[in-house]
Symmetry: C2
Subunit: 153 residues, 2 copies
DNA sequence: ATATAAAAAGAATTATATTCATATTATTTA
DNA sequence: TAAATAATATGAATATAATTCTTTTTATAT
């Protein structure tokens, strides 16, 4: 797809603020809103615009994290000791030994991303044989094992 | 700010698609659109949502790139030879020697990001003393030196 | 120069956002 | 616990924006 100046302006504006109205874009470009809409639709169809997304401040969320941890392959079979080490860390809520490139899936809860970094630096780095750690923020838990949540009577 | 399940659902939906309507979110949550709007505004004010942004497929754009190139500091004073080397590469449109941590600002044009990678691997890597390359995509050029564009008569 | 296709404009319609008064639900605190 | 207060939600009215569609303009090809 060949993009002209108008397309590029639309892309720039929507990259800055994807909730901008057609009318605003149209005013900026001195054209009719309907013409802008047509171009935006085309940019979506041709996969030039791949997604509209809200950026979320990770520090604002009470961070629940999933850490995917992999070990040096020579060590990856007998990994129960490492799992035990991970389970000892107080911020770590769950430890799962998993199949695939990563050996563990670890659920961690920290107050902010600085404390997560501190945790990774201080605790995780002490555990031998860890090769890599990939983390991702949990925004919402739709279903959760609540067997430990004993309800009051 | 304390985020409840409703806030987290809003965040999840808007992270997936920031152009979703209040009405859609409201239906998903079984609440009134006005209540959703109030929460979204609060999430914006409290800086939980930091930006709404369109993701653009870099391969769809005819890639104009700016590369910020730095050299090993011992070499950075006499950098004219490196500048000449960069200027020889056919995809390189402009080379500017600049002040600061980086020594060069280079404008490159490639058809897609794969060819950019190939260029960086094959040509740039052959130039001695390069320490780092940071690239950024140029979406729009508002003003450009056109002294080389001789208009037809 | 004419025919054809693509893009834009403008008006009408539909949908959505926004506002605001009222109602409901939580949270304090006496 | 009950009343007082604050926070949040509802629902209707209004304002704003998106969308559709026909006509017009502009660009491209024959």
């Amino acid at each position: 797809m060949t993009l002209d100046k108008i397309d590029l302006t639309i892309l720039r504006l929507m990259q800055e603020n994807s909730r901008i109205s057609n009318i605003h874009i149209a005013k900026e470009l001195n054209m009719a809103p309907s013409a802008v809409l047509e171009r935006v639709k085309k940019l979506e169809q041709k996969n030039v615009i791949t997604q509209y997304s809200a950026k979320i401040n990770p520090n604002a969320v009470d961070l629940k994290l999933l850490a995917f941890i992999s070990m040096k392959s020579s060590q990856s079979l007998g990994c129960t000791t490492t799992a035990d080490e991970l389970a000892k860390i107080k911020e770590v809520q769950e430890v799962h030994v998993i199949a695939g490139d990563d050996c563990f899936l670890v659920k961690v809860r920290t107050a902010d991303s600085a404390s997560l970094m501190e945790l990774m630096r201080s605790s995780f780095s002490k555990i031998p044989n860890i090769l890599s750690i990939k983390t991702t923020i949990v925004l919402e838990t739709v279903k959760e094992d609540q067997s430990l949540n004993i309800p009051e009577l």
